[in-house]
Amino acid sequence: MYTDKVLDHFTNPRNVGEIEDASGVGEVGNMKCGDIMKMYLKINDETNVIEDVTFKTFGCGAAIATSSMSTEMIKGKSIDEALNLTNRAIADALDGLPPVKMHCSVLAEEALKAALLDYQKKSGKNLGLNEDDFEDWDEE
């Protein structure tokens, strides 16, 4: 059911762990399946570049693979680029996910946005993120 890329990222997840002095931390949970994803960002306040990113995930194979892939996709990128990352792009980068697993990629997008929201709060910058938007992300 999973592509080779999913299995690769699941078996050898990139950027697992925590960042002690993270610029932003996001934790989201998908109540439907009891999964939890936590993402840590280290952002350069001057350049707005995401210099480091790590994750921790309690979840299925797809949840772990999408966490891992999403960290790879934004590491070294600007905040703006990270803001534009969609769950579909993450899934595509993994050569696709089974339909029943698409929501796991939503979890990854959501965790990233939650971490950026946290950074927005801490830094006082306006990234255009809104606490209320998170409601909508529950389903694809």
């Binding site: 299995l7 697992v16 934790e27 399946c33 999964d35 309690f58 299925c60």
Partner: protein, 386 residues
């Protein structure tokens, strides 16, 4: 890489004798059992011989055996067919919260037709209480279904007592014995059941064949309509090869049960102790003793089942989490939830079901390989604080 199959509760390999018997049917006895010529008659004969074997295995009369396309079909015919045929007597049905979906979903569909269903709860080990069952009985109760043993946690239910009470009160009693045939003794007279469902592919027989025991005199309403096959309850040209395969499989399963179940029980206990002993924050789900001899169900805190299955698979170990039949579903096991586990603990459950191929080396392999996998997943888990 070593390959260790520990998912015999999901399905079993087809044993050599069964394959051979089925091959012979496919290549030599191809006639339609309903045909009266000399191509059809041997096919009919093979079906009747298989029926005798199945009957013998569960203490029934051959006339009481109906071949179906699966265990699911057998459950559905008994429950839906039995309830509809008796709805004039009452509208109340009783089952348990830990049944297989083939039973639960049949009851759910009956609710839509106007039946009332009481779902018995279970204790922390997955067992139903006879007392709660008795309190649930009503004057208009017409049918009760309690599985013989649970497919996820292996809990064996007090079906004999429940069956006895049903018989006294003339209430139809069905038991889903898909997981028990060939594992523990199954006798329809001792269970006091009116229906019993079993399936071929759990006992080293083929997939796509099941059987329903239906006690003499009991009537059900058919769900499918067509030819007169299997007393009009399972119309359609018979799957002769699979029927023969089921006959051979059940004969062997029952014959070797005493020795094999004892062997598996020892292996299983060593597996449980090995895992619980080597990995912290793990617990056994289901009872220590009154459980299926080949079933080990363990919750491993802070990690999720699917990730665990995939990781074990990469090391050659085939296991399941929750029930294989509902994988693809994202909900945690309804059985573990009913036993009072939290969402997270339920999600982190690991079911290992042993079988013919299981050896001491397999058990050692799992005990050795599981810990590093769990460590790795826990290191990745945001809820694991160490």
């Amino acid at each position: 890489m070593r390959r260790v199959y520990l998912d015999h509760g999901a399905t079993t390999p087809v044993r050599k004798e069964v394959i051979e018997a089925m091959m012979q049917v496919h290549s030599e006895v191809f006639g339609n059992p309903s045909s009266i010529h000399s191509f059809g008659r041997p096919a009919r004969k093979l079906i009747e011989e298989a029926r005798e074997k199945v009957a013998q295995a569960i203490g029934a009369d051959p006339k009481e055996i109906i071949f179906t396309g699966s265990g699911t079909e057998a459950d559905n015919i008994a429950i839906i067919g039995g309830a509809r045929a008796n709805q004039k007597k009452g509208k109340h049905l009783i089952t348990t919260v830990v049944e297989h979906h083939a039973v639960l979903d049949a009851f759910k569909s009956l609710e839509k037709e106007g039946f009332e269903v009481t779902y018995l709860s279970v204790d922390g080990e997955g067992a139903v209480s006879v007392e709660e069952f008795q309190n649930a009985l009503r004057d208009d109760t017409i049918l009760v279904s309690v599985m013989h043993a649970n497919n996820e946690v292996g809990t064996i239910q007090p079906v004999e007592e429940i069956g006895k009470i049903c018989r006294e009160r003339k209430i139809l009693f069905h038991t889903d014995a898909v997981q028990t045939v060939g594992k523990v003794p199954v006798n329809v007279k001792e269970i006091n059941c009116d229906f019993l469902a079993l399936s071929g592919h759990k006992i080293y027989g083929p997939k796509g064949i099941g059987a329903l025991y239906m006690r003499r005199g009991v009537r059900v309403q058919p769900l499918y309509h067509g030819g007169g096959q299997e007393r009009k309850l399972r119309p359609g040209t018979e799957n002769v090869a699979n029927i023969v395969g089921l006959g051979v499989a059940i004969e062997h399963a029952v014959a070797e049960m005493p020795a094999e179940s004892a062997r598996l029980e020892k292996l299983r206990d060593r597996l449980i102790e090995g895992v619980l002993g080597s990995i912290e924050e793990t617990r056994l789900n289901g009872p220590r003793t009154k459980r299926l001899p080949h079933n080990a169900n363990i919750s491993i805190e802070y990690i999720e089942g699917e990730a665990l299955i995939l990781s074990m698979d990469m090391k050659g170990m085939a296991v399941s989490s929750g029930s294989a039949c509902t994988s693809g579903s994202l909900d945690p096991s309804h059985v573990l939830m009913a036993m009072g586990l939290t969402h997270t603990t339920a999600h982190g459950s690991l079911r290992m079901t042993l079988g013919h191929s299981t050896t001491d080396e397999d058990v050692d392999y799992v005990i050795t390989e599981l810990k590093p996998i769990v460590d790795k997943l826990r290191a990745m888990s945001p809820v694991w604080e160490r």
